[in-house]
């Protein structure tokens, strides 16, 4: 359901090849992917949790196939936005990163949600999910340095505001480093939140300047979400005892409304850059 638009979005950006891991899907995704000319798909029925939430699978694939390539590691509901993405293909960005000797590129997760109840506008296959989930929180993110891995730990957004208002320390992490010039010695530690070696997590400037960064538009909150939350809760395969999905299930019962008066409607990357959610850095 979510794949046609996903593939379309990244093909237009200039992604040359897709690697998928199909974890026992039952909605025909595997066949659909196998039919695509630019997709390689691996399928497994092993536990997502035992593979450290999929990280082991991806690390292995990247070690084997991605050495020396720029790799973008995203979920099917994450859509990368980077500076000038409306006029320059991804290759322009990676060429520039290469020329600047930058090996990793940060793109914070930005939770997108619809106005009104989550189930008000049904999502159609092939549709741009941002048409429905076009709102976001622009300025309620907290960040703390994680001295162990040298990454920033970012939390906040609608999930902290609505689902984790009374236990914000448990709100999901939003910092991500999805675009990396891969080397077989690298690995992701926890989802794409942080990497080893630690230098790759140093995607922020500490002396007042801004490094270039992007945003992953997170189209998680669509009409399909309630069903997904229940399913995931039943599977119990998610991080920290699926605390996230427990919180969702609890709140979703009464009033699945994330929109508020101060929500911002998504326009383009320039808007995100003005709001200070991402930066052009010294790319001009």
């Amino acid at each position: 359901m979510r794949l046609p638009y996903f593939l379309d979005y990244y093909r237009r950006m200039g992604v040359a090849h897709f690697f998928f891991v199909d974890n026992d899907s039952d909605d025909g995704s595997l066949d659909y992917l196998a039919d695509q000319p630019d997709v390689s798909v691996w399928s497994t029925s092993a536990g997502y949790k035992r593979a450290r939430f999929g990280v082991d699978w991806l690390n292995w694939l990247q070690m084997k196939y991605a050495h020396g390539h720029w790799t973008l590691t995203v979920d099917p509901d994450e859509f990368l936005v980077y500076p000038f993405c409306d006029t320059r293909p991804l290759r322009a960005l990676t060429d520039w990163l290469d020329a600047s000797s930058i090996k990793s590129f940060s793109a914070m997760l930005l939770d997108m949600y619809p106005k009104g109840r989550l189930d008000e506008q049904p999502y159609q296959p092939g549709q741009d999910p941002i048409e429905i989930a076009s709102w976001f929180d622009s300025g309620n993110y907290t960040m703390e340095p994680n001295y162990l891995f040298r990454n920033l730990w970012i939390q906040g957004g609608p999930r902290a505001r609505v689902f984790f208002a009374d236990q914000p320390e448990k709100a999901p992490a939003l910092n991500k480093v999805p675009l990396v010039k891969w080397d077989r010695r690298y690995c992701y530690v926890s989802s794409t939140h942080m990497l080893l070696p630690r230098g790759l997590n140093q995607v922020y400037d500490e002396w007042g300047g801004e490094k270039a960064s992007g945003v992953l538009l997170h189209a998680k909150f669509l009409d399909t979400f309630s069903a997904k939350a229940e399913e995931e809760l039943a599977r119990g395969q998610h991080y920290a005892g699926s605390v996230e999905y427990k919180a969702y299930a609890e709140r979703l019962k009464d009033d699945p409304q994330l929109w508020c008066k101060w929500s911002e409607r998504y326009i383009n990357w320039r808007q995100l850059e003005i709001l200070g959610l991402m930066s052009k850095g010294n790319w001009a």
Binding site: T87, E206, W262
Partner: protein, 559 residues
């Protein structure tokens, strides 16, 4: 034309120059494999007046680039006797104006050499902190590949005080490597009887392509225009900015003759500029002003960033923020306790957004009782206290353009005190001891009042120590309560002036002070219980009665 990659683009541009009647000599980097080179030569074999010179290994910052340029220049001067100006370009240069305009431009300046050439002491653009030392040290190791050894070699030479002397008293000059020299000057450089001496010397200079011709041209040229005809901008690390399709209009309006570097996949740029044969035949001078500004801003963003912004790719260390917050704001302590209608009065008088106690324990008291504010910043105290420093910087960032004021006091979360005290954007006004007024007016048991008063006094005292610390950068003003009620209008006026956006020319009304009748006795009672309230200042027992306002107050007038 110096070429090392994107040969297809180089071929296109070479054809373009050639079609306009300019002979082209191409130097291809030795790193390019022979097969690729042969294909390239073959592809251009149908074009007249294109030559390929001897190939050198060109690594950034090394002599090979100069050697290649020399070889190409010699071939150019020898093979094409009609050539008067030689333009050094690269494979990623793109002519922006019709070549004929450049030819005309140069024809009307037949003796002028266009070469950026400045003495080392006058230019700040240096990579790796080396300017003068580029010329006086030796650089046996590659900066790009063996940075460690490069740095070590520099350090050792510095320690030993090793120095080389410029031959024949040359004055070192530096500048853009993309020049346009007359046959007169170029041949004088290449045929100089001392050339061996110079070459031997520059072979060990670092980045000689930015200094060899720039220095020697000063020896022979009769007329130097110290600027490059090639538009080429560098970022803070000394690497060239790249042009993409979306720069098309910007490049068109720049009126520059040639630009670099162009991204090889910028189809629209190549299509537009290589087919623009007609052109407007403008006689304008190059005007890269707007492009300069854009790239200067990019460097500024990368090095200084936006003040008060904390985000995924900007997280400055303490004291490196270049502004803790994004804009000035005001913090009031004790005012809302002393004046009945302080918040609405301040909002009316200044037009600023006036919040209640943002750091109160129960919730965030936003202005007008809102449950959230710009940026979807929630009023939940738990969310705020999860990271109250970020809460403050977020609030000021989200509301930039609108002055923020808020109340603070010893009841509130004190974790934020240092952050505010260190912030030069903060304007903090404190009436110490005013927290006693609500206690005085409350209906609590005296024992409870006494305990609370003791606690609040201790907290406020600690806060005052912070505000008076030499590390505090905020603009702090502290009055004792006794001092303040003596003459309240003067400090109030000062505060309004500082906020500086008084909506009303004349202040029609002053805020209404609470009735302090009996306050002096109240303090005395605390003292009698052994709890000495000292932050209020000197309050005689009967004083509170005297100080209570005598209504109706006269309107306060401001010029």
């Amino acid at each position: 034309m110096l070429v090392h990659t994107a040969l297809g683009r180089a071929e296109q541009v070479a054809r373009h120059w050639s079609a306009a009647g300019c002979p082209v000599v191409i130097h291809v980097d030795r790193h390019v494999p022979k097969a690729t080179f042969d294909t390239f030569v073959k592809a251009l074999s149908d074009v007249p007046d294109i030559r390929f010179c001897e190939r050198y290994r060109c690594e950034w910052g090394t002599w090979g680039l100069v050697a290649g340029t020399q070889a190409a220049s010699e071939m150019m001067l020898a093979s094409f006797p009609k050539v008067r100006h030689v333009y050094l370009a690269s494979g990623s240069c793109l002519p922006l104006r019709p070549v004929q305009e450049l030819i005309d431009y140069l024809a009307s300046r037949p003796r002028t050499d266009f070469i950026e050439s400045a003495t080392t002491s006058d230019v700040p653009w240096t990579v790796g902190g080396l300017d003068e030392e580029r010329f006086t040290l030796r650089f046996p190791f590659s900066w790009k590949r063996h940075r460690y050894f490069f740095d070590k070699a520099v350090a050792v030479q510095r320690r030993l005080g090793l120095q080389r002397k410029m031959p024949n008293g040359l004055v070192p000059h530096m500048g853009s490597q993309w020049w346009c020299l007359t046959r007169h000057t170029l041949s004088a450089i290449l045929q100089d009887p001392e050339r061996d001496t110079y070459d031997r010397y520059f072979r060990h200079v670092w980045i000689p392509d930015e200094s060899y011709f720039q220095t020697l041209a000063r020896q022979y040229s009769t007329k130097i225009e110290s600027r490059s005809l090639t538009l080429s901008k560098f970022d803070f690390q000394g690497k060239p900015h790249i042009f993409y399709d979306d720069h098309l209009q910007l490049l068109r309006r720049s009126d520059c003759f040639v630009a670099r570097k162009i991204w090889p996949y910028a189809d629209r740029l190549y299509d537009a500029f290589l087919t623009d044969a007609a052109g407007a035949m403008k006689k304008t001078e190059p005007n890269p002003g707007k492009i300069d500004r854009i790239f200067a801003k990019a460097v500024e963003r990368r090095t200084r960033g936006r003040s008060g912004l904390y985000m995924q790719s900007r997280f400055p260390n303490e004291d490196w923020e270049n502004g803790v917050t994004a804009a000035p704001y005001s913090v009031f302590q004790g005012f809302a306790e002393l004046f009945e209608n302080f918040e609405p009065w301040l909002a009316k008088a200044t037009g600023a957004r006036v919040h209640g106690h943002l750091f109160a324990p129960d919730k965030v008291h936003f202005s007008e009782g809102q449950t959230a504010i710009n940026g979807a910043l929630s009023d939940s105290a738990i969310l705020r206290d999860h990271n109250c420093k970020t809460f403050l910087t977020n609030l000021i960032w989200n509301t930039r353009g609108e002055r923020q004021c808020f109340q603070f006091g010893p009841h509130d979360n004190q974790d934020i005190c240092w952050r505010i005290a260190r912030d030069s954007n903060a304007q903090i006004s404190v009436i110490t001891g005013a927290w006693a007024v609500p206690l005085f007016r409350s209906n609590l048991d005296f024992a409870e009042i006494r305990a609370t008063a003791a606690r609040l006094q201790r907290i406020e005292n600690e806060h005052m120590d912070i505000l008076r610390s030499p590390h505090a950068k905020a603009h702090v003003r502290i009055w004792t309560m006794a001092e303040f009620i003596e003459a309240p209008m003067e400090p109030l006026q000062g505060i309004l002036d500082e906020i500086g956006r008084t909506k009303l020319r004349r202040l029609a009304e002053a805020p209404k002070m609470v009735d302090l009748g009996g306050f002096g006795q109240f303090l005395q009672n605390l003292k009698n219980q052994g709890m000495h309230p000292y932050l209020m200042g000197d309050f005689p027992v009967e004083r509170g009665v005297e100080a209570s306002p005598k209504p109706p107050r006269k309107p306060y007038l401001v010029q």
